[in-house]
């Protein structure tokens, strides 16, 4: 996939192509950092910061969902959410070692991993907004809209989903390690630089649709606005 301003350059072996646009990479990086901080602050009794960080993560996830519709081709859900047959075929190829060619963008299994991570993250934050602690003293920004008992139930699911999220993250890291070690396909580099070297046999990359600056600005503004509004309990 190419980027209008940077045409594919011939590398030592094959072509260097643009894989991930800057918004996708930044959101990915910030989600990693803020998720770690959310974990740390919660386990060190810094609930005020935990809640602020949770709201920032809400903004990032909302932006990523919008960017999944308006962003660059590789960031779009439509480009990487594939049907079960495609996923199964890919899984079989992967298991038998048939697919040697390193792909560009999300592979059919990785696409669902993104959907699962974002979905669980969204649900985790959603429950977080309504959480009440056992003492009834610490609470999410929307907890005053629900009863103590409902807030406690939200806290229960917030804990359960955090463990699900950890499991998905572990799976994600294992997949990255698998591609790096077994398939000799470095997935971390492109997520940092946005670029990837592909074999010329992959063929000339197709010109890809890009997310416009207007879409970027609007998505970011709406996501940030909604997250901030939620942080204030949808008041004012």
């Amino acid at each position: 996939m190419t980027d209008g301003s940077a045409p594919p350059q011939p590398g030592r072996r094959g072509l260097i192509v643009k894989v991930w646009d800057a918004p996708t990479r930044w959101v990915h990086g910030l989600i990693i950092v803020l998720t770690a901080l959310a974990w740390w602050t919660e386990s060190h009794d810094q609930m005020d910061w935990h809640i602020r960080i949770g709201c920032a993560l809400l903004g990032l996830v909302l932006f990523r969902l919008a960017w999944g519709v308006f962003g660059d081709a590789n960031a779009r859900f439509a480009s990487f959410v594939r049907g079960p047959r495609t996923v199964l075929r890919y899984a079989i190829k992967l298991a038998t070692g048939a697919e040697a060619e390193a792909g560009v963008g999300h592979n059919p299994m990785g696409g669902w991993s993104v959907v699962a991570l974002l979905g669980v993250m969204a649900a985790e934050i959603g429950f977080g907004l309504f959480c009440v602690d056992v003492d009834g003293l610490e609470s999410g920004p929307l907890a005053d809209r629900v009863s103590f008992q409902a807030g406690r139930a939200a806290a229960h699911w917030h804990t359960v989903l955090f463990n699900v999220l950890l499991a998905l993250i572990a799976l994600h890291l294992c997949a990255i390690a698998f591609y790096g070690i077994v398939r000799r396909d470095n997935l971390i580099g492109p997520m940092l630089t946005g670029r990837k070297r592909v074999a010329t046999s992959a063929g000339e990359p197709q010109p890809a649709r890009r997310g416009s600056a207007v879409a970027l600005g609007l998505s970011a503004a709406v996501a940030a606005g909604l997250a901030l509004w939620a942080a204030y309990g949808f008041r004012a």
């Binding site: 003492d135 009834g136 003293l137 609470s139 005053d144 103590f148 806290a155």
Partner: protein
Amino acid sequence: MGRGRRSAIFAATALVVVVAASAAAADVLGVIQARQGHFKEIGKAAKAMSEQLKSPTPALPGVQASVKQIDALAPQLLTWFPAGSGLPTGLKTQAKAEIWTKPDEFKRDASAFADAAHKLDLVAAGGDLAAIRAQAQVLGQTCKTCHEAFRQRDD
């Protein structure tokens, strides 16, 4: 004593033991349910109170009413944990065994809670918001201290 008579006595004794045991289990269940109900009342009141105190313009009568509820329940806390109402029954409870193995520490934490609740009631009556907020923090800390030591964490 005839054989039939002896087995009748045995059966009757067994019946009494079974009935007594299940009655005791039912009692413990009742104790645990009542205890959880009381803590939920406190939680509800604390939630209502802290929501008001977090707002820039708290409704003082609401805060005072919630604090009164907490202050009324807090001194009873020790009576909600009779011996035998802990883990060994196998019933679902987050009360740790330490409540009964370290009764002095448990009593100390429980009375710290009751004292803080009572003081908050007095401060709330005074109507000074900054003072109420400060004492509410003190009260919250007594919840946390005791829960840390004597309540199983949620998961």
